[in-house]
Amino acid sequence: MTSPGRPRPTALLADGIKATRAQLVASVAAALVVALVCLIVLVTAGRSAATERQVLASIEDAGSRLITAIDTMGGAGIRPESVSAVADLTGVAWAIGFGPASDAVIANAGTVTGRAPAGVPVRTYVGALPVDVTMVGGRLPGRPGEAVAGSGAAARLGLHDNAGPVTTTNESVPVVGVADLTGALARFNDSVIVAALPDDAPDLRFIYAVVDNVGSIDVVATQVQAALRADQPGQVTIETPSAIATLRDVVSGQLGSSSRQLMAGILGVGAIVVLITMLSLVSAKRRDFGRRRALGASRSAIVVLVLTQAGLAALAGAVVGMIAGVIAVRVLAGSLPSTSFMAGLAALTVLAALVGSVPPAVIAARRDPVRILRIP
């Protein structure tokens, strides 16, 4: 039988698993500590992170990512191709442009019954409507020249079938659907908007651009200004919700900072408790470590065995703690922190347990086997 004198890594791992099961009390104690750390971090820092996430989401929903280019005087001559130029900018998620409002729009007398025709503005748009627009009825325009009415405009026009022709002073426009225009398009909910014809798009009065990341809004706003194709660029006003972006940064920074400090503190305490638990395990098993050293276990093998046992216990504890923590946060806060937060927490907790187990492992490995063997 040939003996290389070095344990096989797989055999060492298998022995670590056996030790974890054989020394159940110590393993469960270490696992419980890790589970408690996960649970406490989740119901404190995790809950705070979930709240932060909610606050930031509501800030962003309020339009903090929206850049608006406005031709306030109506003489800037913003050409339609400006929309695609803005949409192609890095960091821009979506862009759309609107032309000037036409004269009063009168509902087709044939579709209105029992009430006097009412006028609503109609505007041509260039670009794509957002995919998440909420349809009340009908559909979005599928070809140039088709129109969609905001729900406010539909009510004023009496479009009970959510579709039908409307007429301006010089043309008839087919409305193919009614939508609740919200968010960036909220100001057009009382309008009928018409998909522009490719060769007949008017100069634009508004361009709306939504950025991917609110943190980059000032940079992108500068790029939007440069990307505009206009006869009089100086007459175009760029509006950004800088104050909301600043508020978002402040909220994010303060909540994030306090969460991180809390989490670091709890992880540190957890690592110390794991250290004490593993120290007591190592102390209780000192004869085993001494015997194993006498039988040929190297110091590194002893370290690996102790860390394997601690790591397995920590993994089990992290799973249990995360499940319990997620349930607790869901009940307490009504929402959860991000997946990356939870994955990071689980990894950090196991890492903290391993770091806390290094000193006991080294102590176990450096004990004099003869001294241990000679004490009955």
Partner: protein
Amino acid sequence: MVTIEGVRLTARDLTFAYRRGAPVVLDRLNLECEPGSVTVLTGPSGAGKSTLLYLLALLLPASQGSVEWDGRSVESLPDGERSRLRAAHSGFVFQDAMLDPSRTVVDNVLESALFAGIDPQTARQRADELLAEFGISHRGDHRPGEISGGQAQRVALCRALVTNPDVVFGDEPTGNLDADSARIVWDALIRHAACGATVVVATHDESLAQAADHTIVIDLPDDGNDSIHGDGVVVTNGVGVGNGAGERP
């Protein structure tokens, strides 16, 4: 019968004290243990039998002098290399079995094979053979707390032999056993030596000394200091100084 190469153990001017300034336990000892032989270290308590055993087994570093395994000085090797040599070539039988109470008998036997890096299936097969040979195969799944002291020592013997080691060290391996159990252990060590292994045992048991190939008596000096006695220290079964002989210049 399995053929084992054995290891020639040599001590040259071996001197040891547990710490600087402490009384010298062993003083310039020279000895040689041949493969295929059983060498018994005997003498009164505190004379240094176990210390000499631990020095030969590379568990203690010498204060002066050297320990050689097959002519290679292993005294100054780093700890990792000494561990590797122990794992690959030696087995150890302790006085009180020293089993892990949380593991089964089979897992205890396989412990040596783990650190030797032996294929787990091969080791398990050898473990089963040894447990059967010593009449405790039916105890394989039991915990040490569920078997007798004699059975526990047989398990410890299986653990020492599971790697077919070239050298076996025993520190009072029969000290806590009744005569029948002691005979089983002793016969196993003699059989292992007959296969070619080097067997070194520290013991108080005079009857074991009688059955050994070589006996080294370590005596307390007259002045009360723990060291090898100067006169008549070495007895090689009355034949004179030879293999397994130790002497003091």
